[in-house]
Each structure stands twice: as C-alpha cells, then as structure tokens.
C-alpha cells in the first residue's frame, strides 16, 4: 500500500487527482472507456447470445480493438484512482469483488480465444456453438458486475463498512 501511495506521489498522479477537477475528469474518462467496452465486447457478446442474427461474427469482431482501447484507458485511469487513495480501495469489499470479476473475465477471454473463437468465426452469420453462448454470458455478467461494483465502491469505503470477510 505504501509502495502504491509512494508511486502516486512521486509520479505526480496524486497531486493531479486531488486538484480541483482531477478526480471527476478521470472518472469521466473511466466511464467513457466503460462505454467503449460495452459498445464493442458487450455488443459482440449480445450477438453470440442470439441477438441481431444475420450479422456475421467475424465482421462484428472488427469493433473489438476499440473495446481493448477502452479497457486500457480504464486500467490506466483505474490505477490513477488506486494510487491516489490506496486504503480506500484495497480494503473495500466492492473493489475486491470488482477485481475478482475482472480476473474471471480475463480467464474467460483466454478460454474464448483458445477454444471458441475458431468455431465462431466459421459459423459466420449462422447460429453459434453452445460454448460461445456460455463464454458470452460469462463475459456480459462479469462486465455488468464490474460496473455495479465500481458504482458501489463509494458505499463500502473503509472504515465505515462491514462485510463478512473483512
């Protein structure tokens, strides 16, 4: 925790975040990144779940790099929050659940590109294999959960909260 805080202060991030409009500016970027992720990866998941039949998978997948961009933006802005107030995040149950969901989503990405993407590509505009629907459902659930937990972080700020594992 001290390392995080020291990094925040040394890099100037801490000062920027605690300046007049630092925090809300970075929050706005964080929400914009989230919209990019939902608008590309989330939309691709919806397609795999059976919405918008007729759109070829590989064609729609061309949107995904924009989602990766949104994800990188959110990792960057997310780190900026954490190093500016580490104690408020690391001991926060909403933040802990959020990171766990991100880890599950990450494993799901590995599983998807290793085992599922090939058949999905081949399926073209037709119905997709069941494994793709599962991966899409896991992805969508995790990312919606991440948004919910992100929004709830402010309600579980230490030391005012209580949860069964902390």
């Amino acid at each position: 925790m001290d390392t995080l805080l020291a990094f925040g202060q040394r890099s100037g991030i801490y000062d920027f975040m605690h300046s007049a409009w630092g925090w809300p500016t970075v929050e706005s970027l964080h929400f914009t990144g989230l919209c990019l992720l939902i608008g590309t990866v989330g939309v691709f998941d919806l397609r795999m779940l059976g919405l918008a039949r007729g759109i070829p998978m590989h064609a729609l997948h061309k949107l995904v790099p924009w989602g990766v961009g949104g994800y990188l933006l959110n990792v960057t802005t997310g780190v900026m929050f954490v190093v500016s107030a580490p104690d408020q995040y690391l001991f926060n149950p909403a933040f802990q659940v959020k990171l766990s969901l991100m880890a599950i989503a990450g494993l799901n990405v590995l599983f998807f590109y290793r085992f599922v993407f090939g058949p999905v590509r081949a399926a073209g505009a037709n119905a997709v294999p069941a494994s793709a629907r599962t991966a899409a459902a896991v992805s969508l659930t995790c990312w919606v959960g991440v948004i919910v937990c992100g929004r709830l972080i402010t309600y579980y700020r230490p030391p005012y909260h209580w949860c069964f594992w902390c």
């Binding site: 500016t25 939902i38 590309t40 007729g54 070829p56 729609l60 929004r151 709830l152």
Partner: protein
Amino acid sequence: MFRWYCVATLGALAMLLDYLVWLEETPFSTWMRESGPAFFSSLVFHSVAMGFVVGVHVATNLRILGVAPRVPLTLMRRFFSVLWVSLVVVSVSGVLLLAAYPAKGLTNPVFYFKLVAVLAALGITRALLRGCLRDPRYDDAPAPKKARWLAAASLLLWAAAVTAGRFLAYTHNMMMASHQY
C-alpha cells in the same frame, strides 16, 4: 427599470426556491433520500443502463464511420431493442435520482447541459434511423458523408453527456433548497 428587473428576478428565484422546498418535502422525495437502497439502486441502474445506451451508440456510430465495414448497416438496428430498454431504465432512474435531490440538479447548469447533450444525441439517432440505418444501399457501401459527420457528433455528444453526468456530483450549488433558508 433596473430596480424592477432586480425585484422581479429575486421574486422569481424565491418562488423557484419555495417550489423546490415543496418538492423535496414530498413523501416520495423524502423516501428516495432516506431509504438507502432506493437511492443507491437507482444509481446502479442509471450507470449500467447508461453503459448500454452509450454502448449501442458506440457500436452503431463506429460502424457508420467505417469500422467493421462488412457488418450490414441496416442490421445494426437489431441491437436497438437493448438501446430502447436501457433508455427507459436510464430515464426512470434519472427521474428518481432527481426526485431525491431536486434542488441539487435543477439549480445546476451542468444538469441542463447533460439533458441538452442527450436530447441532441437522440435527435441524431432519429435522423440516422430515418436515413442510412434503414437504407439497404449502405449495407455494403460506405455511409454517406453527412451520416459520418452525424455519427462523429453523436459520439462527442455522448462523451459530453457522460462527462457532465460525472461532474454533476462535484459542481452542485446546493444539496437541498431548504438549507438555503
């Protein structure tokens, strides 16, 4: 003349403040503030649904701008069911959040900025729905130049709306009108 102008302005402001005090003292507004879950579940629904409203716009506008050109443009409308449902959730939760702290939003110019940005963006969506999003000629041809400009403007307006939404929590002039007395 100037004196009457000042009197009229102050009178109007006092009436507005009285109205806001009345609004925040209604049982529903009080319940929205004092029952914890009512307020924070509205916040959660507002964020998630806003993610999907903007998300479907991101996908559609990127497609119009030429990303993912092999997606038949008219088929993007099939994602709009998600958009309409999310838009209803955003509006209802937005009204509920406003009901909890009416003076906080209604006395903040940023609130009106957000409202105008959202309405303008939805106006663009309506224009696109009447134009290239319904025109099979653009399924595998680049979208017309005008539609591209509109798509880019829509993305900027949504980014502005999201930014205004976040700044609403930091820029308010007052939490409650009754605190002004």
